[in-house]
């Protein structure tokens, strides 16, 4: 069992690390210049990071690879992607995915 003080110390450390990373380039940009190649690479950051967060949640819901049609997370995610592609509406996308998961499970 940890003491309350240890919880606070670890949480404070997590906060310092998080804000330091978020601030780093915002503060350093005056001194550190990004090359055109780096700037061009930044365009691919959102699709790559979000895709790396999404994919395991859809195809490894229980920690094991499941690419079958019996995987409700994969089907619900695919349906949500189709809704997002057609409508570009975030709440509708979430509602479609959640409803599909509820029915499929």
């Amino acid at each position: 069992m940890r003491s309350a003080q240890t919880y606070w110390l670890i949480i404070a450390g997590m906060g310092v690390i998080t804000v330091a990373i978020r601030l780093s380039m915002i503060l350093l940009l005056g001194r550190v210049r990004l090359s055109p190649g780096v700037s061009r690479a930044l365009r691919f950051v959102p699709p790559a990071v979000f895709s790396a967060l999404i994919a395991p949640a859809l195809v490894r819901p229980a920690g094991l690879l499941d690419l079958s049609v019996g995987n409700p997370y994969l089907l619900a995610g695919a349906l949500a992607a189709a809704v997002a592609w057609r409508g570009k509406n975030m709440l509708l996308t979430i509602a479609a995915g959640m409803t599909a998961l509820l029915i499929l499970r």
């Binding site: 670890i10 978020r22 790559a48 999404i54 994919a55 509820l102």
Partner: protein
């Protein structure tokens, strides 16, 4: 200024609503993990990073050493280094207080709408940091309130709902409209394959490996 701030608030509202269930779930899980209520609540303002808070809670619950919790937070939040570099050119002219405030508010959800705003040109471009502030504060307020509700109502939340699934759905809604060219599609596909293949790796290394592989793939094909 007011126009940009309110536009930021409006753009963030759907994402904020999507984040509310996670605030609730986080609050409830943090209580279950044995984190003191005040510390569980404070984590949402001190750390203010949903995925790091979830993983942190999991590690607290399993009694992991503090060093592992801090290292995991670092690895998981490395993606924010790339967000930071990506918004930095548009914030270069601001005073340090603004930079610190916006850096603190730089979450996945605030970044997603802000970078979209930064990529278009409008007559009010000089005020677009207000858009960032409006988006960031909207998410912040929703996150604090839903966390508090989760901490207070910890026992009353039905467990069979699978609300966590809203998180990948939110991210799907964000990236699918971005996949308009070969480079972004290849980046997303490569990241997905690598992240899945390496999902068992410790310290969420699969996430970072997938993201870096995706960025590299997009960058290479974009060179033509």
């Amino acid at each position: 200024m007011r126009t940009e701030f309110l536009a930021g608030v409006r753009a963030e509202i759907p994402l904020m609503l999507g984040a509310l269930p996670f605030g609730l779930i986080y609050g409830a899980l943090a209580r279950e993990a044995g984190i003191p209520p005040a510390a569980a609540l404070a984590m949402s303002s001190i750390v203010f990073a949903g995925s790091a808070q979830f993983i942190g809670t999991e590690l607290f619950a399993s009694g992991s050493p503090g060093a592992v919790i801090l290292l995991t937070t670092f690895v998981l939040n490395l993606r924010h280094l790339l967000y930071s570099a990506s918004v930095a050119p548009r914030l270069r002219h601001l005073r340090p207080a603004w930079k610190w405030l916006l850096g603190y508010l730089l979450t996945d959800e605030a970044y997603a709408v802000t970078i979209t705003r930064f990529q278009v040109r409008t007559p009010t471009d000089a005020d677009r940091h207000w858009f960032f502030l409006g988006a960031g504060l909207t998410l912040w307020a929703g996150w604090q309130l839903s966390t508090a509700a989760g901490v207070l109502l910890a026992a009353g939340i039905p467990t069979g709902w699978d609300l966590e699934f809203a998180l990948p759905l939110i991210f799907i809604a964000i990236i699918v409209p971005m996949l308009t060219d070969r480079g972004t599609r290849l980046a997303a596909l490569t990241a997905a394959v690598v992240a899945v293949a390496a999902a068992g790796a410790p310290l969420r290394a699969g996430l970072i490996a997938g993201a870096l592989a995706g960025i590299t793939a997009g960058w290479l094909v974009d060179r033509g």
